[in-house]
């Protein structure tokens, strides 16, 4: 959970002089793309170093449960007895070719775990983002517009409460009230057992239920069931992000509202509503989008907790399973994979921000 931005993100948008040609955007995209690789490299290295400080993964997972000679044999088979640098370079090479290793506890390639459970995490993040956008952005604009009056104070306290409530606690409360107390919504899971059965039977399932549901015989009922299960986890995770969005939009819109060009538009008789929605929001959206990119990471971290709370079988849920099993190859694999996802999302988000900013385009 990252603290709300204090100083705003360091702008990645290079400053440019006017009239340096039309391939500026292309150059920006290329430079930004190349930056992905060191980012992944650094994170994977960091994870590798940290995970190996406790010794080899086989001992960690099976130490004490296997006789010493069998343990030594398994270590040798997996190559963990070679010099650490050799293992490191081999691992880096594997990561950049898309191979994240094989789990110790259930002997499956980490990539398979991703394919099998990634869809669920994606869905959860999608629901949460929808909640965050619907709640955070309009309320943030409203708070900026009524700044320093009591509705603003209420909205700000609401934003802080969203941020201050750990997702698992929010999840527990929601469960307690809406699932256990009122009985309106299911307590846990992605879908009821019948629906899950139906969904696993469709032709080439994607693992993303929202898509697979289209291929079932009764999509309407399946969607209803899916949504009923999605509401509580989506809200629990979404509110955390919504609080951050609200604060982010408020601060940035207040910042742009104090710019000369807003006064300039005001002096031409442009309506106050338009000043907020057009003149202040669009320039403010450039730093907002960059921070939203960083929030994707927070969302993924939060997904681990939400999935555990709601037994939502996604990557985060699996991660905690492997953690309990002390299967650190799997943990390292999933974490490295998330690093790649984070690096890619940030790249995409920066490109979107650049597309909005005409100073980068022209």
């Amino acid at each position: 959970m990252t603290a709300p931005e204090i100083a705003g993100p360091a702008s990645v948008v290079p400053t440019t002089r006017p009239g340096t040609g039309g391939n500026k955007l292309l150059r920006f995209i290329i430079v930004r793309f190349l930056l992905i690789f060191p980012t992944i490299f650094i994170l994977v290295t960091l994870v590798f170093v940290l995970m190996r400080t406790i010794g080899d993964p086989i001992t960690a997972a099976l130490g004490g449960r296997l006789p010493a000679d069998q343990l030594a044999q398994r270590i040798e088979e997996a190559g963990y007895n070679r010099p650490i640098l050799v293992q490191y370079f081999e691992y880096i090479g594997q990561v950049f070719t898309g191979n994240f290793g094989e789990t110790i506890s259930d002997h499956r390639p980490v990539v398979d775990v991703l394919v099998r459970y990634g869809g669920a995490t994606l869905e959860l993040a999608f629901y949460a983002l929808i909640v965050a956008f619907i709640v955070g952005i309009p309320l943030g604009m409203l708070a900026a517009y009524v700044r320093d009056r009591w509705p603003d104070a209420i909205l700000r306290v609401f934003a802080i409460l969203c941020y201050a409530t750990p997702v698992f606690f929010a999840g527990l409360l929601l469960k307690l009230i809406f699932a256990v107390g009122l009985g309106w919504l299911p307590v846990a899971g992605r879908a009821s057992v019948r629906t899950e059965l139906q969904l696993t039977r469709v032709d080439d399932p994607t693992g993303i239920y929202l898509i697979d549901a289209l291929k079932t015989s009764n999509p309407g009922a399946v969607y209803a069931d899916l949504l009923a299960h999605a509401v509580l986890p989506g809200v629990a995770l979404g509110l955390l992000t919504a609080g951050i969005f609200l604060r982010l939009v408020r601060t940035n819109v207040i910042g742009t509202l104090s710019m000369d060009y807003v006064d300039s538009a005001r002096s031409r008789g442009v309506r106050e509503y338009r000043l907020v929605t057009k003149h202040a929001l669009k320039p403010a959206s450039i730093p907002i989008i960059t921070v939203i990119g960083l929030q994707i990471a927070v969302l993924l971290g939060g997904a681990v907790l939400t999935e555990t709370t709601f037994e939502w079988q996604g990557l985060g849920f699996m991660l905690t399973q492997y953690l309990t099993a002390r299967d650190f190859v799997a943990v390292q694999g999933i974490v490295a994979l998330l690093a790649v996802i984070v690096a890619l999302t940030n790249f995409i988000v920066d490109i979107i921000a650049a597309l909005i900013d005409p100073r980068v385009r022209y």
């Binding site: 000369d260 060009y261 008789g269 309506r271 003149h279």
Partner: protein
């Protein structure tokens, strides 16, 4: 003549941390249609606040009392839709900074059309046609194409033209121009003033011109209102005000305006090896992402003799500041040769240069940031003494610091104050004291007075001249203002886009300039005398037309 604005007994008060501060106190003035009324004053005089109150642009911390009749309707206390309807239609505004008064993420055409559509029924196509028409009218070439460009694709002067087009397109009775040329170079300033004159002549628009520059007033205004500390101290027609100013403040203000005087006495250049010798000096800034670098200074040669003041003049982007920084060892040079007190800057290392620094003083432009906000003035002034081992600590240096403060005419007690407790002029004096602490042989002054009010500037310039006489240091005096440079320099060098175009004694450079750029620069400088300025304006026009042929 119809009255467009009638301000009666206007009072504006601001709430601040230190209590309520009256910004405008009992101001009354009128503006007739087709009239240019200049409101003149120094910072804090309330001129901007008066103008902004006409269209209700003051912050929420302000409380306004009195009457402002705009086209016969009182606008004080108007809010919401009623206030919005008057904005743009009855009165439009042109701001000081053209680069920040346009929204960077929308095209200029979008922003022009938006104003139109806020006030009337325009189809998209009609609004666009009208936007193109007005861009053309304010002198933007190829308006059909340029309308789809973003603000950063225009130069500073062009942006200000766009802002004026936005104001004009709504056909307002009144344009309020708040320091419309202060952020612009002097040659561009002349063009914008011409455009504003056309607004009055061709569109019959009344103009309130807010400025601190007496030359600009003389160039454009029909009538002048002088403000001081929130009050109007004098109102008169331009001719009368400049001819026979009545109020002592007006007289002082006019006397403080620097003027070019080629008959001034100069120190003869000493026959000794120069303290600075630049030969084919080249300074480049590296480009980013493999893009080509930017050549800020291009094969410039000059010398500064001991005890001589060289004035370096140029507009923004001319490379004048870069040269000053290179001499002070703040910017690396890329080619040619630059010898400072016998050291070659092309090859010098910081360690070898440190003893030389003892002999160089530097005064920066911005008095607001030239002192560490957490140290007292005495600690700041003592720093060079401590660094070069002349004093153990700030306490030991105090007697010398007191001497220095006295030399720059600051009370000793100011040594115990923090920078933010001093005014801009006082800080610039303290800055001089710090620069002179080690009795340098060379002083670099980078636009030391450009952030100051004109009367403060006059006193600082006077002080500079006195100190130079007393200590006999050589100096590089950098400024964009020909008249300022003229008052202190023994020799003047003119820079244009990184190249040195003309150099010589002031009588020659300012009396009979040879290079067309120097001629244009000189002719663009407005003088505080309406009659003389009218003549000069014609000369400039002749010069520009000749240049275009």
């Amino acid at each position: 003549m119809k009255t467009v604005v009638d301000i009666r007994n206007l009072e504006v008060t601001f709430a601040t941390d230190g209590g309520d501060i009256p910004a405008v106190d009992d101001v009354s003035l009128t503006v007739g249609s087709g009239e240019v009324v200049a409101i003149v004053g120094e910072s804090g005089s309330g001129k901007s606040v008066t103008a902004k109150s006409i269209i209700g642009l003051l912050p929420e911390t302000a409380v306004t009392r009195g009457v402002i009749l705009l086209n016969g309707r009182d606008v004080v206390g108007l809010t919401g839709e009623k206030l919005r309807a008057t904005r743009g239609l009855d009165a439009a505004m042109v701001f000081q900074e053209p680069s920040t008064s346009l929204n960077p993420v929308y095209t200029v055409g979008w922003q022009l059309a938006e104003g139109l559509r806020a006030h009337g029924k325009y189809s998209r196509r009609q609004a666009r046609a009208k936007a193109i028409e007005y861009l053309g009218k304010v002198g933007i070439p190829e308006p059909e194409k340029r309308i789809d460009h973003y603000p950063h694709q225009f130069s500073g002067g062009q942006k200000q033209r766009v802002v004026i087009a936005m104001a004009l397109a709504l056909d307002p009775e009144l344009i309020i121009a708040d320091e419309p040329t202060t952020a612009l170079d002097v040659t561009v300033q002349a063009e914008i003033l011409d455009l504003l004159r056309r607004c009055r002549d061709e569109f019959g628009t009344a103009i309130i011109l807010i400025t601190h520059n007496m030359g600009v007033v003389a160039d454009l205004a029909d009538r002048v209102v002088v403000m001081y500390e929130g009050k109007v101290v004098e109102q008169a027609t331009a001719t009368k005000l400049f001819g026979s100013p009545q109020h002592p403040y007006t007289q002082k203000l006019l006397a403080a305006v620097p003027r070019i005087d080629t008959t001034r006495e100069r120190t003869p250049v000493a026959e000794a090896p120069p303290v600075v010798r630049a030969t084919d000096l080249v300074i480049e800034y590296p480009g980013r992402f493999g893009r080509g670098g930017f050549r800020a200074v291009d094969r410039v040669s000059f010398t500064i003799a001991p005890g001589e003041v060289l004035g370096l003049v140029g507009e923004s982007g001319s490379g004048k500041t870069t040269i000053g920084r290179a001499i002070g060892g703040l910017t690396k040079i890329s080619g040619g040769s630059l010898q400072v007190l016998g050291h070659e800057m092309l090859t010098v290392r910081e360690r070898g240069f440190k003893p030389v620094r003892e002999q160089i003083g530097f005064v920066f432009q911005d008095p607001a940031s030239s002192f560490n906000p957490l140290l007292t003035i005495a600690q700041c002034v003592a720093e060079p003494l401590i660094v070069h081992g002349r004093a153990g600590d700030a306490t030991a240096a105090r007697p010398r610091v007191d001497e220095l403060l006295e030399a720059v005419q600051l009370p000793r007690a100011f040594g115990d104050r923090y920078p933010h407790e001093l005014s801009g002029g006082q800080r610039q004096r303290a800055s001089l004291a710090r620069a002179l602490a080690l009795e340098p042989t060379l002083l670099i002054a980078d636009e030391p007075t450009s952030a100051l009010d004109v009367s403060v500037q006059a006193r600082v310039l006077e002080l500079f001249a006195e100190l130079q006489n007393q200590f006999g240091f050589a100096a590089l005096f950098i400024s964009h203002d020909l008249a300022v440079v003229d008052t202190v320099s023994d020799r003047i060098a003119v820079l244009y886009r990184g190249e040195l175009v003309e150099e010589g004694p002031p009588a020659q450079v300012l009396g009979a300039p040879e290079h067309p750029y120097t001629q244009r620069l000189l002719a663009s400088l407005p003088v505080p005398d309406p009659a003389e300025q009218a003549v000069r304006r014609e000369e400039l026009r002749a010069l520009t037309t000749r240049g275009e042929e």
